[in-house]
């Protein structure tokens, strides 16, 4: 690398630069300049005083240092550093308080846990899977509550990464074997596991029917009821 003389020349320049955080970058840049020049002198057969000449070509350390200092103003430098720090902190805070809850709600939130166990009359494990284009819907559970609420728990995913985003659509018309049709409230947003609740579902019905027929796409799911294990 550079001899003590070359190092001292660069240190002299840097001594005029008050904003110490920029010194290292300046040092690297000036060093590589000197080394390039030394190499050129050496190749030209002037190896002996190559470094000496390279330093002379650079000019006066004080003049260079003072001019560099004007461009590396400590005030501007500190404002810049603090601004960046503030941005980093904001990003961290944002990730922590906004991003994390979204991620945990996506990963951990099973809507079954939203239903109070004391209210459950029965809980049937279903495991029926249907396909709508590239979307796979898997009905997991049907939970009947003492107040007449029937909860249909299902998850869905796209088999294609560029899936059509079916999630906006409903799961179909919900009825029972007695011919009653029910309105199912909206699902759980962007969560992968969705709970739909039908109010006042007949406790006499023994089959839940989910009938989908939209845009020429059809499926029909029949789920036997009352066969579930009573929740203690």
């Amino acid at each position: 690398m550079l001899s003590p003389k070359g190092d001292k020349f660069i240190e002299d320049i840097l001594s005029y630069v008050k904003f110490s955080f920029d010194r290292f970058a300046i040092k690297t840049e000036l060093e590589s300049h000197l080394l390039d020049k030394i190499e050129d002198y050496t190749e030209a057969g002037q190896a002996e005083d190559a470094e000496e000449s390279a330093i002379t070509d650079m000019g006066d350390a004080q003049e260079i240092g003072l001019e560099l200092n004007k461009q590396h103003n400590p005030l501007v430098g500190w404002i810049w550093m603090l601004t960046r720090l503030a941005v980093v902190l904001l990003v961290i805070v944002d990730l922590f308080f906004v991003g994390l809850p979204i991620v945990t709600s996506l990963l951990d939130d099973n809507p079954i846990e939203d239903i109070s166990k004391a209210n459950i009359v029965y809980n049937i494990t279903v495991n029926k899977t249907v396909h709508l284009d590239d979307t796979v819907i898997n009905f997991r559970n049907v939970i009947y509550e003492g107040n007449g609420n029937l909860n249909i728990i299902y998850d869905y995913y796209e088999t294609q990464f560029w899936g059509t985003g079916w999630s906006l659509g409903g799961i179909g018309i919900i009825s029972d074997n007695l011919g009653n049709e029910y309105f199912a409230g909206s699902g759980g947003g962007i969560r992968p596991i969705v709970r739909r609740t039908v109010e006042n579902f007949s406790d006499e019905a023994d089959t839940l029917i989910i009938d989908y027929d939209q845009y020429n796409r059809k499926y029909r799911v029949e789920i036997p009821l009352k066969g579930g294990i009573k929740n203690e």
Partner: protein
């Protein structure tokens, strides 16, 4: 600005931006290119180039990045920005007007810019 005089005179900006408009370059490369193309007319204290480059960067005419060149050495390269390109057009215009005017004054109409 004093440094302009120290370096190449008032045309510093024009020369540097012109070279950077062709290619991204590092400091020493700029100096060699200036010397080569001007048949060593432009000789100056090389260290004074860096405050000028840093000023261009502060003004947003260029930006810099670290990269390894052909020899595998890591160097600080300067790249002209769109603001720098606009400024270059402006500087070129001013230079032509200036040199035309000088030529007229010294009676060298024949050598004036077309």
């Amino acid at each position: 600005m004093k440094i302009d005089k120290g370096l190449l005179g008032g045309s510093t900006l024009l020369l540097l931006l012109s070279l950077l408009a062709e290619n991204d370059r590092y400091g020493y490369e700029i100096i060699k290119e200036l010397e080569l193309r001007s048949d060593s007319t432009f000789q100056f204290k090389e260290g004074t180039l860096y405050p000028v480059l840093h000023k261009l960067e502060n003004n947003g005419y260029v930006k810099s990045y670290m990269a390894k060149g052909d020899a595998g050495k890591e160097r600080k390269y300067y790249q002209i920005t769109s603001k720098g390109k606009k400024q270059l057009v402006e500087e070129k215009k001013q230079w032509q007007i200036y040199s035309m005017a000088v030529n007229k004054v010294i009676g060298g109409d024949a050598h004036a810019f077309a």
